[in-house]
Symmetry: D2
Subunit: 408 residues, 4 copies
């Protein structure tokens, strides 16, 4: 069970770390400041310039599509990628710089595994090139999407087309003007169809008539423009039947294939965020004085620092173990490990970030450190791709199955 980085990737990792810390992190603030200029939902020339120049530099260095563990990719295992993703978690623009950002990575995965040749040409190629963006539409406002069998957006066959009606929200990235395609979870089967075969995944171009972006969902008051988490209405949206992925009723099969890697990538980045928070906490605790001493030496601050270090090491190892399980190729066996880290990584990253906020005093909750924004982002991870409760349930059931043949 080798959880270390393949030695041959060490120089590449060092270069990613250097770029993130020296080139990318410092551009985050400028990028965010541009959001307030003009229409929040377009990219300013400067925003485009920032993104494209970073992407060019990354591509030139061969630091591109690092997430792609398939043939023709850079050759990282999931374990290897964990080390890279952790670095990318430390600056807002870093994942996109290396074409490793959610939800595009997950969507590319779907096209790779389940897409037709036509889809690959139309969507996968430009996505892999970083030329377009995409979104993944799963969650709906009217049902508890934590139980995905509730998903209800209607998709009915009409001649050579499918017609979609209903609403989705939290369509992350759908605000971006470059977003060209949606992968949409829809309901195709009636109540007579077995529960896990009622749903399908279908590909919808974002310019199809009948699509209406109702609003951006806010995350603790932030609309996250221009990326955005959009609330979208479909009214008689029509797409050709060949846009259906794999075939009717195979939505859950695809969702499982897509969500595993996506979940673990989030966790890897969350651990990078936890490291950043701990670093900021330590620096602050050494520089700031109160009552005649550096904060580090006051009260329980040693304990907070020690606990943060211990939590990070454990969560990182668990994340690497889950990645290693995925690399073994048995998705079913890896599933409870992904559920475990999906609960633990956001939990510890949130706690450490919150502790860092407290060490900074009022500055911690403000725009003057990346901590407040990081916290809000991490908070979404306790809900996205399955809330904690659902993952805990998976872990418990897997545990109890060891002792019984009956379903727990």
């Amino acid at each position: 069970m080798d959880l270390g980085l393949n030695e041959s990737f060490a120089p590449m990792l060092a270069e990613v770390r250097r770029m993130v810390q020296d080139e990318i992190a410092s551009l985050d603030a400028e990028y965010f400041a541009e959001v307030d200029i003009g229409d929040r939902w377009s990219l300013t020339p400067r925003q485009s310039e920032i993104l494209e120049s970073l992407k060019s530099r990354a591509r030139e260095k061969g630091l591109w599509n690092l997430w792609y563990t398939g043939a023709g990719g850079p050759g990282l295992s999931t374990v290897d990628y964990a080390y890279f993703a952790e670095e990318m978690g430390q600056a807002h623009l870093a994942p996109e710089t290396f074409n490793c950002n959610a939800p595009d990575t997950g969507n590319m995965e779907v096209f790779h595994k389940y897409g037709s040749e036509a889809m690959k040409t139309a969507w996968l190629t430009p996505l892999m090139a970083g030329e377009i963006r995409s979104a993944y539409l799963m969650t709906e406002p009217d049902v508890a999407s934590s139980d995905a069998t509730n998903i209800a957006l209607s998709c009915t066959r009409d001649g050579g087309d499918y017609v979609l009606n209903g609403e989705k929200w939290w369509a992350t990235g759908a605000g971006d003007p470059r977003c060209a395609v949606y992968i949409v979870m829809v309901r195709t089967g009636g109540d007579d169809v077995p529960k896990h075969q009622r749903h399908s995944m279908i590909v919808v171009p974002t310019d199809a008539p009948g699509i209406e972006k109702l609003r951006a969902m806010e995350v603790y008051g932030d609309d996250e423009a221009p990326h955005g988490h959009m609330h979208i209405r479909f009214t008689d949206v029509r797409v050709p039947a060949e846009n259906m992925l794999l075939g009717e009723g195979r939505g859950f099969e695809i969702a499982q294939g897509r969500l595993g890697p996506g979940r673990i990538h989030h966790c890897m980045r969350a651990i990078g965020m936890a490291e950043r928070a701990l670093r900021l906490m330590c620096e602050r605790s050494l520089q700031r004085e109160a009552f005649g001493k550096p904060l580090a030496q006051l009260g329980g601050n040693f304990d907070y620092i020690a606990d943060a270090r211990m939590q990070i090491e454990q969560a990182r190892l668990l994340c690497l173990k889950a990645a290693w399980m995925m690399d073994q190729g048995d998705a079913r066996a890896a599933a409870p490990w992904i559920s475990q880290i999906k609960v633990e990584a956001p939990r510890i990253a949130l706690e450490i970030t919150d502790q860092a906020v407290q060490m900074f005093g009022a500055m911690g909750i403000s725009q003057d450190t990346p901590l407040a924004r990081q916290w809000a982002h991490l908070r979404t991870l306790r809900l996205a791709d399955g809330p904690d409760a659902v993952h805990r349930r998976q872990v418990a059931r897997a545990e109890l199955r060891k002792y019984t043949n009956a379903p727990a």
Copy 2:
């Protein structure tokens, strides 16, 4: 130790509750929507209309300046007021409706206790009438203000004037166009003066030349316009010597007198927010279904609800006890109790609010419930008026003093 509401105020409390729930809460969303119209730092006509009509109605009903426990006020004890403040915590606009909002209440308290007749005429009277707003400038960006002896904004005598130079931030309410006056903590004494006599409080009209609002501090991305938490620079700001409160070197004395009630009012409202979060959590858990059951019956949700109820009851009782201690008239004896509730009320309210967010799923972090905004506000309370660490330190020292005469 009667911690109940004086019976005679029961009808008044019922009317406040009714107004908050039926008239005020529903206007919060409209008020916030107006912030995005035109200049964020002015009030739109509709915003003014909302506020002034609510205030008129409150004043007509005699529900005005309820916080004021002095002569000529409505006659509530601090214990009584706790019950009212808790209700006001349940809608954003409620405290101002009843002229009970921070930081004005604390500033009025200062003018009442320490102000000259001229100050009372100029500032206290219009504040009590709800005609102007005020701010309290304590925290500074360059020093650890948790140890208030670090405060450094320079204030030097020049003939009949004082001249102020330096920066303050987190001047809550200073963004409001109606804000007419600041009470400012300044440093007047040199290193030769005893540590707790180096500081003073001085009154500064907001239109004094040399005052520059640099920016609004953001709270988890929200600038909280038009109220705002402003970062302000003073450059040779000149005020007459009689604007000094009590006299040079008495800043800490005034701060203590001001902060006690202010802290406990925040806590009382925080308990109201915790109640709101629990109510929303319960309603959601009964209405929403997953896996064929209402959420209430899934996993540990009963435990979360039970723990929330137990935490609220205990924190409320502690808050009432601290209020009762204040009503006994011995501020020194009451101080550790205020520190206790200052730690506990935000802690439990944050935890319960976060749990409610989780029960709502992605909706919980969005603009569709008051929970995300409430969480961000509550988070500031772990820092405002002294961070947790300072209050815990006070409580521990008070405890250890029981066993030793030497300073702990």
Copy 3:
């Protein structure tokens, strides 16, 4: 809502505190040392002497049956008694000294409320006089007694007698040679009888033929001789029909009436134990030095002390509120409050005791402080009279009932 002590009892309380601290606490160690002499399940002459002399002194001072809120008692309300019970929690022998020890108080309550005149003469009078001891037999080894409808000890009518067969365990106090009577929860009704009417309470003299004490249950290795928590087998144990309390099928009614006061008394004492732990922790932290400083000034110790103080104050107030609810006379309304404190008091007392253990280092887990024994005793309270899970369930259901008429 007066949660204070009735002033007139202040001198009495002071005397109880003095006796506990000055006279009783110091005898605990001697009493325990005597347990190892001869038969663990008898009292040595010195043990009897210690107990009887303490009891005499208490009775002489009128400090007797303080728990008894009924007519002819000392006249304390439940709120008043909370202050006394807290003091008694601070020495092992204190509750019995004042004839306020479990399970006798609960059993006396049962005889008072539900006993026939014959029972009162036979059992209540000597119990009130401290001449005999009693036990309460509820829990059974073979069923989950947390759901008391599972209780199964068979009790069948045979002419003028009832005949009992089955096993009980955790019969607290049944090891004591002075224990003369059991109150036993039995099953009298078949499956055709409604669930909460199948059980009854019956009075059984401890010398009835067919009673066998199988063994003493150990609490973290301690058999708690000579008091003991006994595992008892009933084989054709025969008692006259008039020993049935109230009548067949009324077992739950009696259990409710008995358990309310019993639960809250445990909690009141637990708060006293928490205070003792905090006191020991503070003293230790001031006396012991490491790394050149008293422990109090190292690491997070200030925080532990502050948190302990804050937890105790809140739990005490909750306990007083629950007591006050009982004093209002509506047992049904008081029930969720008792569940709340039943969860919270042991929880905080355990946590503070454990923290105190840690402050003492290895000495803390040993026989050289009362902390280890106290911890083990407190740990039983998370199970006795209903485990945490059952009480949390009660609190959650009471909360949800506010929002629905349907059963939650």
Copy 4:
């Protein structure tokens, strides 16, 4: 970073697991029952027979001194040994069965690394053969031994001898009649000697005149006879000068060399105990019913099970990482990792054990499961070989050193 077991040891591990579960665990209860027969501080014939027959079988199978990573041992790395130690944690008699029990392993380590040839012949050979037992005397009643520079037992040169005077306590294993030798930390240097060179380690045969076993320290009421944690007085105890290990003033050097492996072995076993607790918890939750359902499906029990699994996985990985660091050969670099797991392994094992106790109800605190005993043992680990606070301090200091050259 390979954290897996070396494949070649897989059959050996399987055999250890089988022996522990099938042969050893079932003898624990019988062994403990024998303690109450006759003198608690001798071994009954049956106790000797149990131990010696288990040891013979282990030795025959080559499952002997598995801990010994040096030349001539079975060849396990520290990482490999972790897997074995975890299995041994699941039965009380298992570590001794395989001659892998504390404190003998640590003492053998000392003789191996620092002992003279004479010492090796006299003590190491019979210890490696399992013929004698040993104790390690560090902690003292009168000083805070968490700061080991406080250690004060006097050891002065007198001709060819050293003479020892003072007291030690918590001498684990010193109650065993087979215990033949002590390794004792003593103070040899005066205040003029640098702080970390004042102490020495010396070898003392247990039959030296002047040694007095004052009493057994109890762990939550258990004297742990016949192994015991003894309180020992030295009065003019005289040993030849060549019994000094390495030379005067090198006590800390030896302590460091000894404690690293010892600490991690405890942690490995603690993880085994956590696994045992989780297994018992799961089995109970499936077998026991209340309110018409197996406990597993009630309240938050799924969450407790899931959290336990997640905590165990993370702690195990951290333990393996610390072991791997030790295997890299840089003790200084490994030290903070050992401190980390020294805090985390007992913490999670205690929490899970306590949760399992709660799942069992009153049975959980009794002698009818191994949980209560296991909890008490685990509780000692938060103090033994350095309390949590000292290890957290080490971790925090290591962290802060990354940001500063000045000592934190």
